[in-house]
Amino acid sequence: MSLFSFFKRNTTSAPVARERLQVLLAHERTIVGGGESDLVAILREEIMAVIAKHLAVPQDKVQIKMDRGASVSTLEVDIEIPATLAGLRPAA
């Protein structure tokens, strides 16, 4: 064992543990706590209702994602409109 690997072995692991926990818990607090996932579910439902008034878009073609960043959070709504609806006729 070289002198170098001797020092390397002694690298502290606690800061890694701390960082991993912070990333993990930031994620879990938004999901498990029911806070954001509920919000996304409500937004999804209401956005779907609004779209359904004007377009017959299948449920699975609407993707809603929320990303929380340190300074900015984003809500991403991705609606795929089938070719047959390109004329944008009312659904009903």
């Binding site: 606690a14 543990a17 701390r18 926990l21 818990l25 930031a26 607090r29 938004t30 029911g34 509920d38």
Partner: protein, 269 residues
């Protein structure tokens, strides 16, 4: 009127039962009337840690089902006469552990004791949620280790949402009990430091229980560490914890919340 204290953690093996016994005994040693309830139906162990395993006649489920009166089931400690234990059932089906039954037992004890200490089972199933349901105060037992901290975080979220206090718009008073802490290893960066754990979990510190052979020795002998080895470092830490719980309080200023806890506040569901 008793205060109801739950000792909880999520993860198993971090020292819930040991801490229940030590805190219960320390409170009783200071003259308080204490009833400890073991909620770990099917895997009871508080009786063993207390050295009362051969004195169990009736248990929590017997009382809930009406087979026995609470007075018949409570085991009075032989060393400290204000200390009592209500053991869990070892054999019966835990389906008998009902919300309504637990409420009745706790209401019955509230009149007669100063403290009711609920020793929670590990996990987040019914035993654990019922143990915390009536709590006024929670002691969250955590080891300086990643899986224990993650599970504690989850349990703190449940204390903020699934308890009667939370449902009534109040807060369960939460305290962190950091157990099996080795300061020398923390200094060398081998395990997480107290400050790291406090920043991540952001609840106030009750006490640090140092890693010590005295804890295991006392368990072997069937004595809470505060009785079996009262001058040892862990016993002194538990005795300090109890003084804090009794409101020689928390002179210690609550730590400024770190950047992490500000950005990612835990939400009550």
């Amino acid at each position: 009127m008793a205060k109801v204290l739950v000792v909880t953690s999520g993860k198993g093996g971090v020292g819930k039962t040991t801490s229940t016994a030590a805190l219960g005994a320390a409170l009783a040693q200071s003259g308080q009337k204490v009833a400890m309830i073991d909620f770990d139906v099917g895997l009871r162990n508080l009786d063993l840690i207390m050295g009362a395993e051969r004195r169990v006649v009736y248990d929590l489920i017997n009382v809930i089902k009406g087979d026995a009166k609470i007075e018949q089931a409570l085991i009075r400690d032989k060393r400290v006469e204000t200390l009592h234990l209500l053991p869990a059932s070892q054999t019966r089906d835990k389906d008998n552990l009902t919300d309504e039954g637990v409420a009745r037992v706790i209401d019955g004890l509230r009149e007669k004791f100063d403290w009711i200490i609920c020793d929670s089972p590990a996990g987040i199933e019914r035993g654990a949620t019922l143990a915390m349901r009536h709590a006024d105060v929670a002691v969250v037992v955590t080891n300086p280790e990643v899986s224990s901290i993650r599970d504690s975080d989850r349990i703190i979220g449940m204390l903020d949402s699934k308890t009667l206090k939370a449902e009534n718009g109040e807060q369960v008073e939460k305290h962190l009990l950091l157990t099996r802490y080795d300061a020398a290893r923390a200094q060398r960066g081998e395990i997480l430091k107290v400050e790291d754990v406090l920043e991540i979990l952001s609840i106030p510190l009750l006490a640090i229980i140092p890693e010590s052979t005295e804890v295991l020795r006392s368990s072997n002998l069937g004595a809470p560490v505060t009785l079996g080895s009262p001058n040892s470092a862990p016993a002194r830490a538990y005795l300090d914890a109890v003084r804090k719980l009794q409101g020689e309080t928390l002179v210690e200023v609550q730590k400024q919340r770190g950047l992490f806890s500000k950005l990612f506040a835990r939400r009550a569901a």
